[in-house]
Symmetry: C2
Subunit: 323 residues, 2 copies
């Protein structure tokens, strides 16, 4: 049995707790949190303080770090990799090389294994970019996100004066995807690839036009996109827009000889983004435990790990059943 | 530079010759054939006899074996792995374990590396089945092939008395795929998943009804499918049905907590099946050269190989650009 500790218990941590139940070779030791354990309601797992994590060191094979990329993981992954094998979902793309270098050094010095930046993007989408570009080097990769809820954009809406609550959907431009799949060569702007749809609850007395104006002109987040804003009641928002669906597409269009077109398309349709991300983390926790068993210490990303390490089946079974 | 030898020069060998030109870190040493070299017209590559392969041993890093799975590869891959690092596309699913065991032993004894059963199925589709099932163990994988030309089924048509020539298209049932993606749980028969469409040229004097009857009732190939037969002229067949498009879908539908649906879909749309398969072989030839450089001798399948080995970029570049 692979014994797992969960560090941090938001949507992702809860997703990991649930995912572990689907794997017969895994066992959840506990959830470790900065909150008072008695205030945390889980799906059944015991809850411990962060302080007790070190004491329970020998009971845990892999810690899955479920904090955020902005402030938690840049501190936590290096810190816990001193003592534990770790898996994280660090997703600040630009800072991955730095995060990797730091964690790699600590893992090698302390004879641990850490798999960073798992999940679906970075993660499964990265894998698909790599496979596609290696196989069809004469080609182009486009990534589309959605339809799904962007937490970052929803947060940006909620920070606007006069906004009580909000949900933002990122919507890929299906027409552009079809044109690329048909082999058209397109020069795409940011505006071409995605739309943004906002469902906004106003605070009492707030002016809809002013709020809408501010949204439409918000740099980086909305100004470069075709953005639609709907004002709705808190009741409607709670009823229809509090789920966390997401997904997306990695589309690689290439040519082999002359103009022979070849298309590789990878799609995710996710009813729960955090539960799916959690499922990826858990599969990589298995890889993490195996690499630690093989004593090949250091940091890894999904690009470094042979696919078979994710599976509970033996190599011989995989060759027989899946090839 | 990775120096490649191509063994066998049919559609696949020609595709490999073309694919190598797209990789700046690869060089084609030559094509080795059982035919008289002067009778073989290539896209520019020199042609040598099979006998000269051994003499040129030191010039070649990897041999890509482009023979067929029925009779060539079961003999050739073991034989050439005695002296060379090899890559093949052995695709007789049921015999892969046996082929692997034989090649693995030879590779280990002779300090070579062999990557067997690359291509897209087995190959990329196998990878996707493995990733999807490891991440969403509570789920179901369905593979659909087409729309594309099945050489095996086209050959079966051509063996019928009264048939001069024929092309068979395998067509996936798009309606079933949509239902699965929508989360429906279906019990699928062979007939549900694919249709078969046959374009047949009759020999002079042959009776269309008799031929059609024989096709529709042919066990394994057509009897279990909804099959459509069109009789056309050789001219039409040559004009419209001599290309080799193919493709397909690996669809994994799973649930995480309770009934939360998560769907992973991988699609290939290929204008040339042999050229795409060749492109996969060539990317794995790079992996083969690297594994040989690391002296990790033995046989491998796509499931055993870390994705980064397929790329010409450094690990640091991949982390920076693709994660």
């Amino acid at each position: 049995m692979i014994k797992i500790g969960i560090i941090g218990y938001g949507n992702l941590g809860r997703g990991v707790e649930r995912a572990i139940k689907q794997h017969a070779d895994m066992e959840l030791v506990g959830i470790y949190t900065r909150r008072a354990p008695e205030t945390v309601t889980t799906d059944g797992a015991p809850v411990f303080t962060m302080e007790s994590l070190t004491e329970q060191k020998d009971k845990i094979d892999v810690c899955i770090l479920c904090g955020g990329s902005a402030t938690d993981l840049p501190i936590q992954t290096p810190e816990y990799t001193h003592l534990f094998n770790t898996v994280d979902s660090f997703d600040t793309h630009a800072k991955i090389p730095e995060h990797f270098a730091k964690v790699d050094q600590i893992a090698k010095e302390n004879q641990t294994v850490s798999i960073i930046s798992t999940g679906w993007d970075p993660g499964l989408f990265s894998l698909n970019r790599l496979y596609a570009q290696s196989i069809l080097p004469n080609g182009e990769t486009n990534t589309f996100w959605g339809k799904g809820v962007s937490q970052g954009h929803s947060d940006a809406l909620r920070r606007i004066d006069g906004v009580a609550d909000a949900t933002q959907y990122t919507i890929p431009n299906a027409e552009i995807i079809e044109k690329l799949k048909a082999g058209e060569s397109l020069t795409l702007t940011t505006r071409d690839k995605h739309f943004r749809e906002c469902f906004v609850v106003l605070e009492e007395g707030a002016d809809a036009d002013t709020v809408k104006e501010e949204i439409m002109n918000m740099p980086n987040y909305f100004a470069d996109y075709d953005t639609e804003v709907h004002f709705i009641s808190q009741e409607e928002l709670n009823r229809d827009h509090k789920a966390m669906p997401h997904g997306g597409t990695v589309l690689h269009t290439g040519t082999t000889h002359e103009n022979t077109k070849q298309v590789i398309e990878y799609n995710l349709y996710l009813e729960s983004n955090p539960e799916f991300t959690a499922s990826v983390l858990v599969a990589y926790a298995r890889a993490c435990a195996r690499l630690a068993e093989e004593k090949t210490f250091g940091a890894y990303t999904v690009l470094d790990i042979a696919p078979k390490y994710l599976s509970a089946c033996s190599d011989a079974e995989l060759r027989k059943e899946l090839l």
